[in-house]
C-alpha cells in the first residue's frame, strides 16, 4: 500500500531549527508512532509528510516517489486531525464523500465506499447528521471514516485522541488498532502519550527537540532505551536513574558504587565503560523489590491503585520509585528494605547515551 521515507529532513522557523535532520523509513503496513514531549516537532514532521508544512532541506518520499514539492491532495495521504476538522456545513455522509466526489467519482462508486467505512466504524446511523449534532467521539469516527474512504497510501493521525475523555480514548484506541489490523494500512500516529505509543505501535519513534532519539519496537524502546531521555520518557512511572561509578569491571561483570551507598552492586551485561567512569544506572520501578536483606528506604508517598502499588522511596538521600503487583500496606515514613534486580537494567555514560553494546533483546 504505502511506505514513507524521510531523508535528511530539516525545517527552520526563521533562525530556529525545529526539525534537525531526520532520516526515517516507514514500511508498508506498519503502524509507526511519533512520540515525544510538547514542542518536540512530532506534529510538524507529520504535517511535512502530509504537505501542510514546507520542507526546508531534505526529501520526503512516498512509495519511492519524491513528493516534497507536491500538493497535499496529490500525495495519496489522508489525515485525521486532533480537532476532527469536519466540514461544519455538511453531514457525515457528505464529509466522507467530499474527496471522492471532487475526484470525479460517480454516485455508484462513492456510495458503497462511504457505507463500507461507516459500517467499519459503526456510524451508519449518523450519516445524515451534522457535526454540531454529534459528540466528540462520533465526530472523531467520522473523521476517521473520511480518511478510510480515500483509500490512501498512508494514514496520518495527529493526536486524534487528545480531545476525548479517558474512557472514550481507550475505546477509540482499540478501534484504531482493530482498524489497522483489518485494513493492513500504513499508519503514522502522533501522540504525546507514551501509553498510546506503547500499545498501538509496531515501531516507536521517540522525538525530542526536533531530533530522533530512538526508533524501535515498544519492547526495544522500553527495555533498551538509547539514552536517558528515552529512558525517562517511556514507561510510567519513570525509570529510576541512579548516578553511579564503575568501581571495577571484568569483562561482562561490573561493580558499581551507587551514590553514597557503601556496598557496591553487581551488574552483568554487555556494556561499554571503564573503571572509574561516571555512569547512570537505570532501573525500572518494577525491578525494585522489597527484600528482607535489602537496604532500608523511607516511604515518602504510597500510591494504591488497587491492582498495584507504587511507592516513592528515599534511599541514601536519593529518590527511588518502586512498583509492585498487589496491594502493599505500608505507612508513611516507614522504612522498607529494598533491593535492585539488575537483570535487564540499563547503563548510561556521562553524556546520557546507553552503554549497552550489541543488539538488544
Amino acid at each position: 500500500m504505502g511506505n514513507v521515507t524521510l531523508r535528511g529532513v530539516r525545517k527552520l522557523f526563521g533562525s530556529l531549527e525545529v526539525i534537525k535532520g531526520v532520516d526515517l523509513t516507514v514500511t508498508d503496513g506498519e503502524l509507526v508512532v511519533f512520540v515525544g514531549p510538547s514542542g518536540c516537532g512530532k506534529s510538524t514532521l507529520l504535517r511535512m509528510i502530509a504537505g501542510l508544512e514546507d520542507v526546508d532541506y531534505g526529501d520526503v518520499l512516498i512509495n519511492g516517489i519524491d513528493v516534497t514539492d507536491m500538493a497535499p491532495a496529490r500525495r495519496g495521504v489522508a489525515m485525521v486531525f486532533q480537532n476532527y476538522a469536519l466540514y461544519p456545513h455538511m453531514n457525515a455522509y457528505d464529509n466522507m464523500a467530499y474527496g471522492l466526489r471532487r475526484a470525479g467519482l460517480r454516485r455508484a462508486e462513492v456510495d458503497p465506499r462511504v457505507r463500507r467505512a461507516a459500517g467499519m466504524l459503526q456510524i451508519d446511523h449518523l450519516l445524515d447528521r451534522r457535526p454540531k449534532a454529534m459528540s466528540g467521539g462520533q465526530r472523531q469516527r467520522v473523521a476517521i471514516g473520511r480518511a478510510i474512504v480515500r483509500d490512501p497510501k498512508v494514514f496520518l493521525f495527529d493526536e486524534p485522541l487528545s480531545n476525548l475523555d479517558a474512557a472514550l480514548r481507550i475505546e477509540t484506541r482499540a478501534q484504531i488498532a482493530a482498524l489497522h489490523r483489518e485494513l493492513r494500512a500504513t499508519m503514522i500516529f502522533v501522540t504525546h502519550d507514551q501509553v498510546e505509543a506503547m500499545t498501538l505501535a509496531d515501531r516507536i519513534v521517540v522525538l525530542n527537540a526536533g531530533r530522533i532519539e530512538q526508533i524501535g519496537t515498544p519492547r526495544e524502546v522500553y527495555h533498551n532505551p538509547a539514552n536517558i531521555f528515552v529512558a525517562g520518557f517511556i514507561g510510567a512511572p519513570a525509570m529510576n536513574l541512579i548516578p553511579a561509578r564503575i568501581a571495577a569491571r571484568a569483562g561482562h561483570a561490573f561493580l558499581l558504587r551507587l551514590g553514597d551507598v557503601v556496598e557496591p552492586v553487581e551488574l552483568k551485561g554487555d556494556f561499554g565503560g571503564s573503571t572509574g567512569d561516571i555512569v547512570t544506572l537505570g532501573v525500572r520501578p518494577e525491578q525494585v523489590r522489597v527484600s528482607e536483606d535489602g537496604q532500608p528506604a523511607e516511604v515518602v508517598l504510597a500510591e494504591h491503585l488497587g491492582g498495584e502499588t507504587i511507592l516513592h522511596l528515599r534511599l541514601a538521600e536519593r529518590p527511588l520509585i518502586l512498583r509492585v503487583q498487589g496491594d502493599l500496606n505500608v505507612a508513611l515514613g516507614a522504612q522498607v528494605p529494598v533491593t535492585l534486580d539488575l537483570g535487564g537494567a540499563s547503563l548510561f555514560d556521562a553524556a546520557g547515551t546507553s552503554l549497552r553494546r550489541a543488539s538488544s533483546g
Binding site: M79, Y84, Y87, P88, H89, R102, R146
Partner: protein, 307 residues
C-alpha cells in the same frame, strides 16, 4: 450561624430586582423605541393618507396621495433609478469586497497596511467623496478617462451623459467597501485552520476548496452584507444630491428616491405626499428584506461547532 431563608424566597427576590433593573436600564431606549421610532412610523403611514397644507389642518384624503404617486413621473423615474442602482451597485460591491477579502486573507506581509488602505475610503465624508469623484471623472481633466483611453477604451462623459451618470453614483458608492471587506475577512478568518487543511488534503484542485468549503461557510456574511447593502442603497441621498442636484441631472438619470422625498417634503412642503412616498420606501425595504431572508434558507449555511 445565621439561618438562610428558604431558597425559593431568596431566588424570587433577586430575580425581581434583576428584572426591575433590566427595565430601568433599558428605559431610555424603550422610550425612544416607542416615542421616536414606532410612533413616528405609524404617524408617517397615517400621514400618507392625508394632505398637510402649511396653513390649516391636515385632512384625510384616503388613497389620493398614492393615486398621484403612481402617475407621477418623478416617482416612477426615481423608483426605477433606485432599483437599478441597488441591483447594480450592491452585487458589484459584494463581489469586489469578497475578492478583496480573499486577497487580504492570503496576504501575510503588509496585511495591516492593506487593510488600512482599503478601509480609508469609508472615512471620507460622502460630500467630499462625491465632489472628488466629479473631478476624477471629468473628461479631459480627470485621470479616470485618461486611463481608460490609455487602455484603448472609449470612456463616456460620466457627468453629462444620462446613460453614464448612474454609473458615476455606482462608482462613488462602491469605493468605500472597507466595511464589507472586513466583514468578509472576519468570516474567512473564522474558518478553523484545520478545516482548511483537511480541505486542502481532500481537494484535487485548489479551486474546489474555495467553492465547496470556503464560500458556503461565509454565506452568513454574504447575507449580512447583502441586507445591509440593499437597505442603504435604497436610501442613498447625499451622493445623489451632489452629483445630480435636486433634479437628478442630467435628464433625471441620477434622480434617486430619497432625493424625491427630500424635495417633496422640504422644498415643495408637500408633507402628506412625502409621507406616502416614505411609506412606499419602507414597504420596498421590507419586501426585499423578507425576500432575501426567505431565499436565505436555501443558500445560507449556519455552522455550529466543529470541535
Amino acid at each position: 450561624m445565621t439561618s438562610t431563608p428558604a431558597p425559593s424566597l431568596r431566588r424570587r427576590r433577586s430575580g425581581r430586582s434583576e428584572a426591575l433593573a433590566g427595565w430601568l436600564f433599558a428605559l431610555p431606549w424603550l422610550v425612544k423605541l416607542g416615542l421616536l421610532t414606532l410612533l413616528p412610523l405609524v404617524a408617517t403611514i397615517a400621514m400618507g393618507f392625508m394632505t398637510m397644507p402649511i396653513t390649516g389642518m391636515p385632512r384625510w384624503v384616503g388613497m389620493a396621495n398614492y393615486d398621484q404617486m403612481f402617475a407621477d413621473p418623478a416617482f416612477l423615474k426615481s423608483a426605477q433609478n433606485s432599483l437599478m442602482f441597488a441591483f447594480i451597485s450592491v452585487p458589484i460591491k459584494l463581489v469586489l469586497a469578497l475578492g478583496l477579502a480573499l486577497l487580504l486573507h492570503r496576504a501575510r506581509a503588509l496585511a495591516g497596511f492593506y487593510q488600512t488602505v482599503f478601509y480609508l475610503p469609508f472615512l471620507m465624508p460622502a460630500v467630499a467623496g462625491s465632489i472628488v469623484f466629479i473631478l476624477l471623472l471629468t473628461p479631459g481633466a480627470g485621470p479616470v478617462n485618461l486611463a481608460l483611453e490609455g487602455l484603448g477604451l472609449d470612456p463616456p462623459d460620466w457627468l453629462r451623459d444620462p446613460q453614464a451618470a448612474l454609473w458615476t453614483l455606482v462608482l462613488i458608492s462602491i469605493w468605500p467597501l472597507g466595511v464589507e471587506t472586513l466583514v468578509f475577512l472576519g468570516g474567512l478568518q473564522n474558518i478553523p485552520k484545520d478545516v482548511n487543511e483537511a480541505a486542502e488534503l481532500d481537494s484535487p484542485r485548489s479551486w474546489h476548496r474555495l467553492v465547496w468549503i470556503t464560500m458556503p461557510l461565509i454565506t452568513p456574511m454574504i447575507l449580512f452584507n447583502l441586507v445591509i447593502g440593499i437597505i442603504s442603497s435604497f436610501q442613498i441621498f447625499v451622493q445623489a444630491l451632489v452629483i445630480g442636484g435636486t433634479e437628478g441631472q442630467p435628464a433625471q438619470s441620477t434622480l434617486m428616491f430619497m432625493v424625491v422625498i427630500y424635495r417633496t417634503a422640504f422644498r415643495y412642503f408637500n408633507l402628506g405626499y412625502a409621507a406616502a412616498l416614505s411609506t412606499m420606501l419602507f414597504l420596498a425595504v421590507l419586501a426585499v428584506t423578507v425576500l432575501v431572508f426567505w431565499s436565505a434558507r436555501r443558500w445560507v449555511h449556519y455552522e455550529g461547532d466543529t470541535t
